[in-house]
């Protein structure tokens, strides 16, 4: 028995020793490399780094959101041979993201892209603790004035979704479209609404049935959602999930049409692929990194909620190639609508816009601003589903 007591004592001593040792080495490291921190306080936030970090919520080859991020990150690496590109996959949308970003900072990163909507809290924490580092967040919105070393950026995803809605509205025979989404966040709501309005612009009888999975990537839940939609007679399915493979696969197997999202996944649906909205982040990432490394971030365009769309001409969301079943007439209609969206009077949400209860939410002739669309909290007329999900 008693040797266990000795063991416990030994163990406690060992713990104390390890703690002391770590403290010493930690202190040693801190004093040994004073250049990194002191140099940064002289320069502007985000300058003087040797690396750029990207954190992603899912795997980098998900046929979706994270794959688009990863590929663009690699392009940034090619344009900046002096900067090491640090990428981290499967970073949860909780406090562990803070540690991962700080590990990137310890490896020389002065610029960090926190690329999932739910990374905003962690990004804010890191930006507040590291004034010399710039953290930009993809897709969420900062309320009030952002910190001097923080901003968000995104494209107007709903514009290409409106166009894809046109293709869906022409393709459907049951007049029922399906939408599998993760969470009812404003950008998703705007996408669903734009998709329905695009479809209704060519097919007044169409409706869009929505199902949420409560996860950016849960193949089991996605399969359940797609099955429920298909059994309702839906014959075109699109989605707002990070990993898109499962839903596309289920849709193709059922002989229904697919509208893709995030990435061109037409290889997964050779029969049913219509089109899709696809990210091309590389040009925007390049602009952001240029801006930050030149020391121009503070007070600049990216030190805010930066949004681009067809009107600014630099939407990182582009339309994927069309599938074989899309007719020339439909393609022409889409091209026309795309040109219209780029003009002053063009928007998926030109009033009158009615909500699900038939109440007018955008008055006749009014065009909501990008900011207003970013704050959407209702489904439009023709969408089946409850936001309370």
């Amino acid at each position: 028995m008693h040797h266990r007591t000795v063991k416990a004592a030994l163990a406690a001593t060992a713990l104390a020793a390890v703690l002391a040792l770590s403290a010493c080495t930690a202190a040693g490291t801190a004093t040994a490399t004073p250049d990194a921190s002191s140099a940064a306080t002289e320069g502007a936030p985000g300058t003087g780094g040797s690396a750029v970090g990207f954190i992603m919520v899912g795997p980098r080859d998900d046929f979706g959101y994270n794959q688009a991020v990863y590929e663009a990150a690699q392009v940034v690496g090619e344009s900046y041979p002096d900067l090491e590109i640090l990428t981290a996959e499967n970073v949860p949308e909780d406090d562990t993201a803070v540690a991962t970003m700080e590990q990137m900072i310890d490896r020389g990163a002065k610029v960090i892209f926190a690329t999932s909507y739910g990374h905003l809290d962690a990004a804010t924490k890191v930006a507040a603790a590291h004034p010399d580092v710039v953290v930009v967040q993809q897709g969420n919105t900062i309320e009030g004035a952002p910190l001097a070393n923080m901003g968000t950026y995104f494209g107007t995803v709903y514009e290409p979704m409106y166009l894809a809605g046109i293709a869906a509205g022409e393709a459907t025979e049951s007049n029922k479209l399906g939408y599998v989404y993760a969470f009812p966040i404003p950008q998703t709501i705007a996408n669903i609404n734009a998709f329905q309005r695009g479809a209704a612009s060519v097919n007044p009888d169409v409706e869009t049935v929505t199902v949420s999975t409560s996860s950016w990537c849960d193949p089991g839940a996605q399969k359940d959602a797609a099955s429920s939609l298909l059994s309702q007679g839906v014959d075109v399915i699109t989605q707002h999930q990070d990993c898109t493979k499962t839903v596309i696969d289920a849709t193709e197997a059922a002989g229904a049409f697919t509208v893709g999202y995030h990435a061109d996944a037409s290889e997964l649906a050779p029969q049913g692929w219509l089109t899709g909205a696809v990210w091309d982040w590389a040009p925007l990432y390049g602009q952001i990194v240029d801006n930050i490394t030149a020391g121009e971030f503070v007070g600049g365009p990216f030190n805010a909620n930066y949004r681009v769309g067809y009107k600014t001409g630099t939407n990182p969301f582009v339309l994927a190639d069309f599938g074989t079943s899309v007719s020339e007439d439909t393609k022409a209609a889409i091209a026309e609508a795309q040109a219209w969206l780029g003009t002053e009077d063009g928007s998926p949400f030109v009033g009158p816009v009615l909500d699900q209860d038939g109440a007018t939410v955008v008055p006749d002739g009014v065009i909501p601003t990008y900011d207003e669309v970013d704050g959407m909290n209702y489904f439009v007329d023709g969408v089946i589903g409850s936001l309370a999900n």
Binding site: V6, A8, V18, A88, A99
Partner: protein, 363 residues
């Protein structure tokens, strides 16, 4: 399996210190240390082989992991922050184990503890002073964690249903309770990802000076020392050991077995609840869908690594926390998935569980 009928004294009682000759004792300790060293080496070798299949150089991986985990300015802070809830979740297993019970429900008790703390915080953090709210939240966590373990205790003591089964099932109920709350009643905004409102700044756990380490680790240390003292030096601790050794004998010795079992589970649940409070008020600040994921199970394993003894729990929790900090290095330095760290962690556990004790121990 058959336990001796005699009533055992507490394990570290000084009475048998003089019995064993010193040499034999030294030999046994030497053999024990050797087993541990071999177990750890074995785990590292197998891990090396596995990652080299994926093209990684094991030596570089270990060097990078060491540097990343122990030599960055922030690494000790990160380890201590992660270690605090793991320690408390492990103590939640240690205590019932002393009374011969198995608490597999730390996971749920941590979650419910955080839910209790959040409930109190959401109710009062806009009206009462921050320091008071912080203490009230801790109280809410303790009550909630104890109550959750109390359900299992009730089922065992009244309906005779085993606590290992019920605590495990209650983990899933706890997770669904958390999700239910943050998807509707406690949701900060209907058009955001589900989460509760952030704990008010004043009610968050303060840090120790400028270190970034929150007082969570102090709470964990104090709880460990207090539990160690209580088990070794109080009548309560002694009686728990007796019940754990042989409840029948304990009953014959007129010990209040039911009350003792109940107290062990309730205090265990309260400790896990505290872990949830610390994770909420010091780390996450909001309840989110993945809240506290695996802290309970990792604590369970920490308790086994430590052979259900309070002080060694600190080492086990430190090692497990350090391993989780090392995960980022695998990804950032070696290009391996971060979750690969689970291989090393589990091999270590398997080696320790299977190969550091003599065969024939009580399972």
């Amino acid at each position: 399996m058959s336990a001796p009928v005699i009533v055992k004294p507490p394990e570290d009682s000084p009475s048998d210190r003089a019995v064993a000759p010193r040499q034999a004792q030294a030999l046994r300790i030497g053999a024990g240390v050797l087993r541990w060293v071999l177990a750890i080496l074995g785990a590292m070798v197998i891990f090396s082989i596995l990652i080299s299949f994926q093209g990684a150089n094991p030596l570089e991986v270990f060097v990078d992991m060491w540097a990343s985990t122990f030599q960055r300015p922030r690494s000790l802070t990160e380890i201590l922050i992660r270690m605090a809830p793991i320690t408390l979740a492990a103590l939640a297993v240690v205590l019932p184990a002393r009374a011969g019970m198995m608490n597999v429900g730390g996971e749920g008790q941590v979650i419910v503890g955080a839910v209790g703390a959040a409930g109190v915080g959401l109710a009062f953090d806009q009206t009462l002073p921050g320091g008071l709210v912080m203490v009230l939240m801790a109280g809410g966590a303790v009550v909630a964690g104890a109550a959750w373990a109390g359900i299992a205790a009730l089922l065992r003591l009244v309906f005779n249903v085993n606590e290992a089964v019920t605590t495990l099932l209650l983990n899933f109920v706890a997770l669904d309770l958390l999700l239910f709350l943050i998807y509707q009643p406690w949701r900060e905004s209907p058009t955001a990802q589900p989460s509760s409102r952030e704990v008010a700044v004043g009610a968050q756990l303060p840090t120790l000076g400028s270190t970034g380490v929150t007082i969570g680790i102090v709470v964990a240390l104090v709880a460990t020392l207090a539990l160690g003292w209580a088990l070794a030096r109080t009548r309560w601790g002694f009686k728990l050991g007796v019940v754990g050794g042989n409840a029948e004998a304990a009953r014959r010795a007129a010990l209040p077995v039911t009350a003792l079992l109940l107290s062990a589970l309730l205090v265990g649940g309260a400790l896990a609840g505290l872990a949830g409070w610390i994770e909420l008020s010091a780390v996450e600040l909001k309840l989110r869908p993945g809240f506290g994921m695996q802290i309970g199970y990792i604590g369970f394993l920490a308790s086994w690594l430590a052979r259900h003894r309070p002080l060694p729990v600190l080492i086990a929790a430190f090692v497990l926390a350090a391993l989780s900090v090392a995960a980022d290095s695998l990804q950032l330095d070696s290009g391996l998935p971060a979750a690969t760290i689970n291989i090393l962690t589990s091999l270590l556990l398997i080696a320790v569980l299977g190969w550091t004790t003599m065969k024939g121990r009580k399972p």
